[in-house]
């Protein structure tokens, strides 16, 4: 009996997930066609690459945020980690050659991983909600970045590093390739491994997951550590792309990554979401920003539209919840 109920719930959940992803894909298609008709330049290869480049960093963040949100958590510190790791990495890089670049990247990734581990530890072992924990580390990281640099940007970066940030492999810009590879790895980790199943189980019912003998705390720590590490990778990519590091460079990026996951069907209540659907959410944000820009819609209107889309996505999420009950 219970097996049958569980199967039915599983089917409903899968149906809801497919429904949602299909809806996002359909909306994306409608937008692409609409913008292509209104502004033929929208479908030019140059513009497609500009669009993808503009969301590459958000995509990397959204991979980490997807894992966090599936566990019913949230990571508000991502943008601050971008800023801090960007300036610390750039500082460590100095004007050095390949050695300096690798040192800078290593420093950035270690700092990101460290903050992520701290977030995970606090969420897993204290009763403090993830929202508060990561809000705290957001402030600590952004304050530390400003403190260390005195608010000053770092401009003198090794030319090879910037060449990577603005370079391309064939026609594909490097930073897009990195984000695609990370998204693919994230999706495999989430859907094909025991760790991924544990992430879903924690988000669906933390207590049940613990009672089933799953390593809830360890998984939670790993999920936040991953988000911190991916944020640091985002920091490295952004620094290379803009050829400078600024302590406030990642301001509000976490909001875009959360929006992307939610648009992609990730439930803030946990247990739902996939990396590839979050990538659809990232694309939707990018297409909206780029398309409305090309057809000459005002900046301010763009933000209003994005806000409406996020609310629409949350509405679909709550509607889906009602279907599943």
């Amino acid at each position: 009996m219970s097996q049958e109920m569980s199967l039915r719930a599983g089917l409903r959940s899968s149906l809801a997930a497919v429904l949602n992803s299909s809806l996002v894909a359909a909306v994306l298609l409608v937008l692409v066609v609409g913008f292509a008709l209104a502004a033929p330049d929208f479908v030019s290869s140059n513009n497609a690459l500009t669009l993808l480049q503009s969301v590459a960093v958000i995509a990397v963040l959204a991979v980490g945020q997807t894992f966090v949100i599936i566990t019913a958590g949230i990571d508000l510190s991502q943008g601050a980690i971008i800023g801090l790791t960007g300036v610390l990495g750039a500082g460590a890089m100095g004007q050095g050659g390949a050695g300096g670049i690798l040192l800078g990247i290593a420093v950035a990734l270690l700092i990101g991983l460290g903050i992520g581990l701290l977030n995970g530890f606090l969420v897993a072992y204290t009763k403090v909600p993830a929202f508060i924990v990561t809000l705290g580390t957001l402030n600590v990281a952004s304050g530390a970045g400003l403190l260390i640099t005195g608010g000053q940007p770092i401009y003198q970066l090794p030319p090879a590093f910037n060449a990577f940030g603005t370079g391309a492999f064939g026609i594909f810009p490097d930073i897009i390739l990195v984000s695609l590879v990370l998204a693919a790895l994230g999706q495999i980790l989430l859907s094909r491994t025991r760790f991924g199943r544990c992430v879903y189980a924690i988000g669906s019912n933390r207590r049940a997951a613990a009672l089933s003998g799953l390593a809830v705390r360890r998984t939670t720590i790993l999920v936040y550590a991953m988000s911190g590490l991916l944020s640091a990778i985002g920091g490295v990519l952004l620094t290379a792309y803009v050829n400078s590091a600024l302590p406030t460079a990642g301001e509000n990026y976490e909001l875009d990554s959360i929006a992307a996951v939610v648009i992609g069907g990730g439930s803030l209540f946990g247990g739902q979401g996939t990396v590839w659907a979050s990538m659809l959410g990232v694309l939707l944000i990018g297409v909206l920003a780029n398309g409305t820009d090309l057809i000459g819609l005002s900046n301010y209107a763009q933000t209003v539209i994005l806000g409406c889309v996020v609310i629409g996505a949350v509405y679909v999420d709550s509607f889906r919840k009602r279907v599943a009950v």
Binding site: L23, D41, T50, G150, P153, Y155, N243, E251
Partner: protein, 328 residues
């Protein structure tokens, strides 16, 4: 249920269709040249006035204009993407306020290579790859404010700076220029620098903390309109307008009122409308004589408006650059 989903999809589809229909038609034989203005921040009154100047001058030649800007000055990546999109859109010219002297170089070079002329205003590029750079000499103007303030306290005391950022060249030059001006007065000691990120409330809090921590500070420089406004509010709330000389850069109505009431003793006023007009003039020159080389720097004049000369015709003219209907 599925009906609700369909409605949402249809709603978004309709939105796209509506925006498609409202978009300007593209297929006319000779569409007007479009000039896109991309400042470093979308809500700074100074840039909105510069855009007024751009629109006025563009209307004279029949050019159409567009305004795009990131919400935060720190969002360098957004400004790069906007410049790339302007190139894709095929605008004829771009007037840019670079949020970073180096990060905007790739799209600027790309635009210039496609004969989409780029004019840098207010902040420059390193190296200066745009067609020309139009701005007030920020260092010189900030040094003039420093000279005024140092004289007002007889060359003795401590000074602090509330800058809006150090990521733009204008932010750095104003900081450097003010400190260079103060360096000519050995009795003036540097007491600290804080960044407001262009938020008056932040400038207010920073100023309050600075003055509570160090009551010897008798000069504070707010390096842009938002910063100076916050500084003035803090000084007034602490009733220190007689002990602290506040000098600023730029002006809005709030700041002008503070200049009139004597809380702000002086402010360097630029010419945002003129800057916008000159940028369009430069583009017009390039449109009509393609390949022409312009001077790398085009300085725009500045005026030091003080609480004593605020009513003078010259000051009123300078204030009108910021507040179009200012009556004096």
């Amino acid at each position: 249920m599925t009906g609700s989903i369909s409605r949402l999809g249809v709603g978004l589809g309709a939105l796209v269709l509506a925006t498609s229909l409202s978009a300007p038609p593209r297929a006319h034989a000779a569409p007007p040249k479009t000039i896109e203005f991309i400042p470093s921040e979308s809500t700074t009154p100074y840039f909105l006035r510069e855009y007024d100047g751009i629109k006025q001058a563009a209307a004279k030649y029949g050019y159409s204009t567009l305004f795009r800007a990131p919400y935060a000055i720190s969002d360098v990546s957004a400004q790069i993407n906007m410049t790339d999109t302007a190139i894709t859109r095929g605008v004829a010219g771009i007037i840019l306020v670079p949020s970073s002297p180096t990060a905007l170089l790739p799209p600027v070079r790309k635009a210039m290579a496609k004969q989409i002329y780029v004019i840098a205003t207010d902040s420059t590029l390193t190296p200066m790859n745009a067609a020309t750079y139009i701005a007030v000499p920020n260092e010189k103007a900030a040094a003039a404010a420093a000279e005024f303030a140092a004289n007002a306290v007889h060359g003795q005391g401590q000074y602090a700076i509330i800058d809006y950022n150090l990521s733009t060249t204008s932010g750095r030059q104003r900081n450097d220029g003010f400190r260079a001006g103060m360096a000519k007065h050995p009795g003036m000691v540097f007491a600290g620098l804080q960044l407001s990120n262009g938020v008056p409330q932040t400038a207010l809090q920073e100023t309050t903390t600075l003055l509570e921590r160090n009551p010897k500070i008798n000069v504070i420089f707010g390096a842009n309109d938002r910063s100076a406004l916050g500084v003035a509010e803090a000084v007034e709330r602490m009733h220190k307008q007689d002990q602290v000389v506040v000098v600023g850069f730029d002006a809005d109505l709030g700041e002008i009122n503070y200049i009139k009431s004597g809380v702000i003793k002086a402010s360097v006023l630029q010419s945002p409308v003129l800057m916008g007009e000159e940028a369009v003039e430069a583009l017009h020159e390039l449109f009509t004589s393609p390949g022409k080389t312009l001077a790398k720097d085009t300085p725009v004049p500045f005026t030091l408006v003080t609480s004593k000369n605020v009513g003078d015709p010259q000051s009123v003219t300078a204030i009108r650059q910021y507040i179009g209907d200012y009556k004096g």
